[in-house]
């Protein structure tokens, strides 16, 4: 009985404490589409404070503010591109987890394809050379099996 009371008090205080510790009111969405658009956007935007996290995961105060800003922009009828532009104009391309294709990111986007091509060419050359060697070996005049009999 005494134990039950202690557990009860303990439980209630945890609930109360956690209720007080909520820093920012949670964001409220008008509808499902808005919420899924929001979730997709904040997952692709970088938190500037803790740079290896996206806006969705970060607890930094700036991330909270930026999430609110993103929702406000969606509410005011801005497209996903316009929301991203808003942040890029202020914080630069770095906020985008998926960088755009422009002259500073050509190497990033096209690099893998270029390396793949180089690798393909090198492998092609090596195989070609081996094939040639193999064929030459087969046609060697000192290869008795292959040597045509001229008598």
């Amino acid at each position: 009985m005494k134990n039950t009371l202690i557990y009860l008090i303990f439980g209630i205080s945890i609930v109360l404490l956690s209720a007080f510790s909520v820093a920012a009111p949670p964001l409220e969405f008008d509808n499902q589409t808005q919420e899924s658009r929001f979730n997709k956007l904040v997952a692709e935007l970088r938190c500037l404070v803790c740079q290896n996290q996206n806006l969705a995961d970060s607890d930094a105060e700036l991330a909270q503010d930026l999430r609110r800003e993103v929702l406000d922009l969606i509410r005011s009828g801005k497209s996903d591109t316009q929301v991203k532009d808003f942040l890029v104009q202020r914080y630069g391309e770095f906020v985008l987890y998926r960088p755009r294709l422009d002259k500073s990111t050509y190497l990033l986007w096209l690099g893998p394809a270029v390396f793949f091509l180089i690798a393909a060419v090198v492998i092609g050359l090596v195989i070609g050379k081996r094939n040639q060697q193999f064929l030459e070996n087969q046609n060697m005049p000192n290869n008795k099996d292959q040597k045509p009999h001229d008598d």
Binding site: Q51, L62, D65, L66, V88, Y91, G92
Partner: protein, 180 residues
């Protein structure tokens, strides 16, 4: 050739990693896309005088340093003696952007550490700071007489950085003005 290949690969890797290490301390600094562009518009109340508003157009005509700070920001305390010194030197006005701070705490903080700000605006919601692309305090901007952002420094500003990066810029700005 074949037996040198591991050594060559190692050398290339070492050079690349060396470059990475050399730039490691500046890697978290994000270059501002606002440089040489018009500063964002703002209209903010003064710290301690919530009825008085200052806008971007009020500040046109002089080159000033906009210092983003907060009483909650430990690095601002490190930077603050330099701001006081800069303000006393009279080289250029120091304008404060008190970022997401309680005005009462800001005022108490300035009383304790000195007030270098000729104008000190309160950005309680942090909305103006977002327009400036602020992501950590302290940050300092140089805004010229036409209202264009000319320079941004992220982190603690000191005498060395000021002399190396800001003084030459101020000279350039002065030449632009006299050249017209």
């Amino acid at each position: 050739m074949k037996r040198w290949l591991p050594l060559i690969s190692f050398a290339i890797l070492a050079i690349l990693l060396g470059f990475g290490l050399k730039n490691a301390d500046t890697k978290s600094l994000i270059p501002s896309p606002l440089i040489d562009k018009p500063a964002p518009d703002f209209n903010l109340p003064l710290v301690g005088q919530p009825e008085v508003f200052v806008s971007k157009s009020d500040l046109l005509g002089t080159t000033y340093l906009l210092n983003v700070w907060g009483s909650w920001c430990a690095a601002c305390r490190v930077e603050h003696p330099f701001m006081n010194q800069l303000s006393r030197s009279g080289i250029l006005p120091v304008v404060g952007l008190n970022w997401k701070d309680e005005p009462t705490e800001a005022i108490a903080w300035l009383k304790q550490f000195g007030d270098p700000y000729s104008i000190n605006m309160s950005d309680y919601s942090g909305r103006t700071a977002i327009d400036f692309g602020v992501y950590g305090a302290p940050e300092s901007f140089i805004i010229d007489a036409k209202g264009n952002v000319r320079y941004k420094h992220i982190g603690v500003l000191n005498q060395q950085i000021f002399e190396r990066e800001i003084q030459p810029l101020l000279a350039t700005i002065a030449r632009e003005v006299s050249g017209q």
